[in-house]
């Protein structure tokens, strides 16, 4: 009887914990979102030494509250999911585990101040909540466009990496250690800082020739930023143009004969079966 009751409870809890199309499911997600955000804010504020000295006990207590809540939620998910192993070794299952482990480990391991920063990865848990909402379709447009531009972007990044290594080596020779270009890795770091137009100024060329070359690198960086922008823009436009995209018009119809989608604007005949549209 009791196991029967538990089985029913498990079935009932599944849509609450893993979906959000019921009221209870939405409530669960909102509550989780709030706890996650509070816990991340706590981690961030805890790192401010001024606040940490003052409110050390409060931070520790709050952290234990979050950890126990997340632990209960984790156990609930493991119990409720039809195939627990699959959940445990899924991406979000591992993120859920990593979200609670550091606090428990801090009981046994000393000097884990930096180690606790891992808790900031709780932020990734928000992604699961958003995956269920209508923001997903916007994200999907971007993801599709980025995936389509990936090969071109890889070629671009490969070219930039080659450029940056060659520029870094040249500047290492031209400026030398006395002007801050103490090694090729550091010169490559400078080349990235310059080419991406970040420009910290912690390392900057001092010799006329170095400044001349740096000027060329800057103009180059200023120009080549156009390339990824162009690639991504064209791909977003492509995604937008396809009729299964929610941003598009409803005049993109099915062929009533062969059900082919995606007919060209202005097409009068289906280009798959030849019957009139």
């Amino acid at each position: 009887m009791r196991s029967n009751y538990l089985a029913r409870l498990r079935t009932r809890l599944y849509p609450v914990v893993f979906q959000n199309d019921t009221f209870a499911g939405k409530l669960f997600d909102v509550a989780l979102l709030v706890v996650i955000l509070l816990s991340v804010i706590t981690v961030i504020l805890e790192s401010v030494s001024y606040l940490n000295q003052r409110y050390f006990t409060q931070f520790r207590n709050m952290e234990w509250v979050y950890t126990i809540l997340f632990t209960l939620e984790y156990l609930l998910r493991v119990w409720v999911y039809p195939k627990p192993k699959r959940y445990i070794f899924s991406f979000f299952g591992l993120v859920d585990l990593i979200s609670v482990l550091p606090t428990y480990l801090s009981l046994f391991i000393l000097g884990t101040q930096y180690f606790l920063v891992v808790r900031v990865l709780r932020l990734l848990r928000i992604a699961r909540i958003f995956k269920l909402t209508h923001f997903l379709k916007e994200g999907r447009v971007l993801t599709t466009a980025l995936r389509a531009s990936l090969p071109k972007i890889l070629v671009f990044i490969g070219t930039v990496m080659t450029l940056v290594i060659i520029i870094g080596s040249v500047m290492y020779v031209v400026e030398g250690a006395e002007n801050g270009f103490t090694s090729i890795p550091k010169s490559i770091y400078w080349a990235i800082v310059t080419l991406t137009t970040v420009g910290y100024g912690d390392i900057a060329p001092q010799t006329p020739l170095g400044q001349f070359l740096a000027g060329l690198v800057m103009l180059l960086g200023y120009g080549i930023i156009a390339i990824p922008t162009g690639i991504v823009t064209v791909e977003i436009a492509n995604v937008n143009r396809q009729p299964d995209n929610p941003g598009l018009s409803s005049t993109a119809l099915f062929c009533s004969n062969c059900l082919k989608q995606n007919h060209e604007a202005g097409a009068k005949f289906c280009n798959n079966c030849g019957s009139p549209l």
Copy 2:
């Protein structure tokens, strides 16, 4: 009799104060624009301590002239507007009130040097004047495009915020307080400075691992700027392509014969079936 005269005056003043299609209305707007700009320039120059010490009295007097003019204008608007309460609690009504209050309050409250900066919000009053001009339609294209890209931009900003928090936390661990990354909030600040390619250089990684990670962040920031640009470009192109856009003609109609849409501006005959539009 007299109240009758006042009622007529009120009716006559309305188009002068709130519209700009008459000569008097245009004159009123230009005069207002000049006074607003002068008053904002005064606030800005007043903050320069060198000038403030020299021309303290002049600045104070000019400020009182502007304040009295704006007060008269405010009372006029309240009186002239058919439903005064609605004006008073409208956005521009509140901006108009905020534009004059600080000066009066400075009579009663001491040490309000910084408080007076609020007067710079008078700039927002210019928006009302421009809302009446032909610049509006250009602004509307941009506003429409931005509103259409908002959901995608929000997804993008959410991703960037998550990235920036995780990057900031990692760099806090890698670099530590001795290299300026004294807390996670400060590291997040550094991550924003770097990812947006601003690069002040007040905080910069010193360890080889930190510089390597910073290089990755820069390349990432250099790449992801392509995303909002792509989104906005595609939406501006969409707005431009739509026939109700003022940048396109209003003759974009259906052909009554073959129902073809999107006819070229100025077209007299349908270019699909040849029948007159």
Copy 3:
């Protein structure tokens, strides 16, 4: 007789000096280009105090050679041009005059070291030479696109100016003079440096609240750069799509009946007169 000879010479020299479709005209332009570039390089190198101390006499002599050449050229242009006054008061006529005046004036006025920099404006004279070449059509595409985007860009710049003044005023209050934000103009300067992602780091927020606000400004600046890029991209695409653009296909035909150009891709009937294409 002699004046007749001079008149003939004048007519013959016109295409040499003002056009470039003859061999002599091209030669004249190339020679002029070389002298302009040499003279600008001289001005630039002259400003390097190390070089100036060494080669002071050489620089002065070269400068006089250029000045005399440009003076002869200027007199030739005045003499050859059919309506000399029109040339003298044209844009390029004034630039030509400004190119030679500083050197003569330096004979009478002492301490004109900085004044001589005006000679760098000789660079503008190159524009005339390029106006005659095939680079013009590329430049025209850009100019057309920029002109078309101007009203939108103006709205954008107006918004950015308003933003920058308000942000600057807020940061002046938040950070105050002790952190380098000594006046509102300086704070506005900081706001521009930050919003445009230049980020010198000579003024940088020190308070947590200031750094938080600065982070928002950076993200804003990172986002709004998408707007002018979007505007210009769409306008360049528009210019490119028009058939009188050399970058375009040759399928854009004339209507054989009414000679209307610019028919839509796929049009079967002229949308001006209704006759088949």
Copy 4:
């Protein structure tokens, strides 16, 4: 007999060394890629004085291993290629030679620490390997787009160079040597640093007028970055739209019945007249 055997070997080795459509060819390329990357990493790490002092002997030995391998490969390529001279004086032939020369020369020439950096050019050899892979077509899209935008980009760069020289000269006069603008070349360097939004902050305007002008330059730089982006975006879109582009199908033909072009990839019937393609 033996020369016959060698000739056969030569013929058999050609596809291994110069192509990658056989298994042996692929293996050769992967092995080469690994050695090139290892050798470049060695050059980079060697420049770190901390590592160089510790592992000097190891670095030198590894370098000789790479050099001997590359030398053998070079001799093999010369021997295998049908017209050796053509290979030796080709771009990649020269790069291959430059990859090995510095190490041998370092035996005879002393103090060549900086000279050895030339070995980093081995990176260019990777380009040959990638030229054979499917990344090529992505690279070709970018190359085609960049070549098409070249004339417009040149006009743009010419304008930027003129701007930068004029801005640099003006700032040299406004700020002067006492604020770091010691010469026009240095001011031009500052103008490039600012216009490209790099913003090191090693040279920054100090006078109010200088800061005002710098603000204008920044806004200008912020605006004109839109231009190359716009140019490249439009050209990438053009390349993407053309049917001979590998990103689009090769079925883009004319309809033999109505001559309509630009049929969708995979279309079997003309969508204008319904006849089979």
